[in-house]
């Protein structure tokens, strides 16, 4: 027996609200037994209908890194926040800059982050980021001391309402240093790029799976 889209939609809504965490399309599809299981297209159509249903409501259906999530819209935060006594934490600039470097330059070592920020990073910052499960160690750079390489996690993307790293706010373009001032040596620019290229190569070989 096949199900109509409304029936599918209701089941998806029930499951998403009961789970209280994002559900992948695979898991959503797994809710149905073989005879009733909707095709991928029908599943997406039901999700689209659910999303439309929510336009006049306080909810929204959003796709994040680990799947689909029903969440309360940002406009309702002023009221919802009154449910809890303690306010949501605000993160320090030092923590956010460290996180930004890991997000855009992963995998990256602590020394490389310190190099760009021009200061040493407090251990408590790395601890907090790991404890929140926003970053994890994905390997070690094969240089003396074998420093840990950090990358962001799926939880990081979920927390910041993102589907993937490509949804991160765009990094500002570097002004063309050499064009504007031809006296500046291009070679000066190279080391940074090489580091980046090396980092990208590592990322592909070590663990690209948990980034997307």
């Amino acid at each position: 027996m096949t199900m109509d889209t409304t029936a599918i939609k209701n089941i998806l809504e029930a499951a998403l609200l009961a789970a209280g965490e994002p559900l992948s399309e695979e898991r959503l599809s797994g809710l149905f037994n073989e005879t009733e299981r909707p095709a991928r297209g029908q599943l997406r159509e039901a999700l689209q209908q659910l999303r439309d249903d929510y336009t006049s409501r306080s909810l929204e259906l959003r796709e994040v890194a680990s799947g689909w999530r029903i969440q309360v819209r940002q406009e309702f935060a002023p009221w919802v926040a009154r449910l809890w006594e303690e306010r949501a934490p605000r993160y320090s600039r030092a923590l956010l800059e460290t996180l930004a470097l890991i997000a855009y330059r992963q995998p990256i070592t602590r020394a490389e982050i310190e190099e760009i920020r021009g200061v040493t990073i407090a251990s408590s910052i790395m601890k907090t980021l790991q404890e929140r499960e926003w970053i994890h160690i994905v390997g070690h750079r094969e240089v003396p001391g074998r420093p840990a390489l950090y990358a962001t996690t799926r939880e990081f993307l979920d927390y910041f309402n993102l589907r993937g790293l490509e949804e991160l706010p765009a990094l500002a373009e570097l002004p063309a240093q050499d064009a504007a001032h031809p006296e500046l040596d291009l070679a000066e620019m190279l080391p940074a790029q090489q580091v980046e290229a090396a980092a990208d190569a590592d990322s592909a070989s070590i663990d690209s799976g948990n980034v997307d």
Partner: protein, 268 residues
């Protein structure tokens, strides 16, 4: 936090001609009593301080008047040292680097064979690179965050007819989790809280479960006979701890009368 210094700077605009050296201490800098903390919180390091100086003077980052910026930078650092603030080594290192660039700028540069190199190039590269991530961090903060701006929706789904296999947990995992939590807590707290022996904590829970706020339990009835002397001690310690934490009340109606125990909370 950043606004503090920026505002102070904006309130006293100083007319300065581009490239003209500044000879006096920066009088547009408001220095609060807790200057070091404000300074260190306001500036995320020497690159951040340099960016601030460049932005404040509306200078072209690609063509930094190095003598002037160096002067101002060193004035800031000098002020901090004057206030006997211990500056991170990075700030002093940067001062040395600026001085070196300044002196290299004074030397005639070899022009042949494209070997020419602006001594500022590396500094400019680092400043530009840092600025990108500084901005990225600001954008991060503005992203909708779960639990701050958007909230995971959760509905109750407890079905009587359905039995779901709950996840298995081993004792070992539990111990590890406790160890992890403590290890991290040790990072944050510098004091060790005196902990009661576990059996006392357990007895506290047992007593609380047993007594009801609306009903008095006889003090003596809380002491199990079968546990012997040790059990009595544990129970007594648990009762003392509960009284200390204002979780229970002892009531005695008559002198030398029976002591009763009740929960301090209205409902349990």
């Amino acid at each position: 936090m950043n606004d503090m210094l920026t505002d102070a700077a904006a309130q006293t605009p100083i007319a300065k001609v581009r490239g003209e050296p500044v000879t006096e201490l920066p009088h547009d800098l408001y220095i609060p009593p807790d200057a070091l903390e404000v300074f260190l919180e306001t500036f995320q390091g020497p690159l951040d301080l340099l960016l601030y100086l460049i932005k404040r003077e509306n200078l072209d980052i690609l063509d930094i008047p190095i003598a002037r910026v160096t002067q101002q930078y060193i004035e800031y650092i000098g002020l901090m040292i004057e206030l006997r603030l211990e500056l991170a080594a990075e700030y002093l290192l940067m001062a040395a680097m600026l001085a070196e660039i300044k002196s290299r700028m004074l030397l005639p540069r070899p022009v042949e064979a494209g070997e020419e190199q602006d001594p500022r190039a590396e500094l400019v590269r680092r400043l530009l690179e840092y600025e990108r991530f500084k901005q990225a961090a600001e954008k991060f903060d503005a992203l909708p965050q779960l639990g701050r701006d958007v909230f995971q929706a959760l509905a109750e789904a407890r079905f009587k007819s359905v039995t779901r296999p709950p996840p298995a947990v081993t004792l070992d995992e539990l111990l590890r989790a406790f160890n992890d939590a403590l290890a991290r807590a040790a990072m944050y707290t510098h004091h060790h809280i005196q902990r009661d022996p576990l059996s006392v904590r357990e007895r506290m829970s047992q007593i609380l479960s047993r007594i009801r706020a609306d009903h008095f339990t006889e003090f003596g009835a809380l002491f199990p006979h079968e546990e012997g002397r040790r059990g009595v001690v544990v129970t007594f310690l648990a009762l003392l701890e509960l009284i200390k934490e204002s979780l229970i009340e002892l009531v005695q109606h008559d002198l030398y009368g029976v002591i009763h125990v009740r929960s301090a909370s209205a409902d349990t």
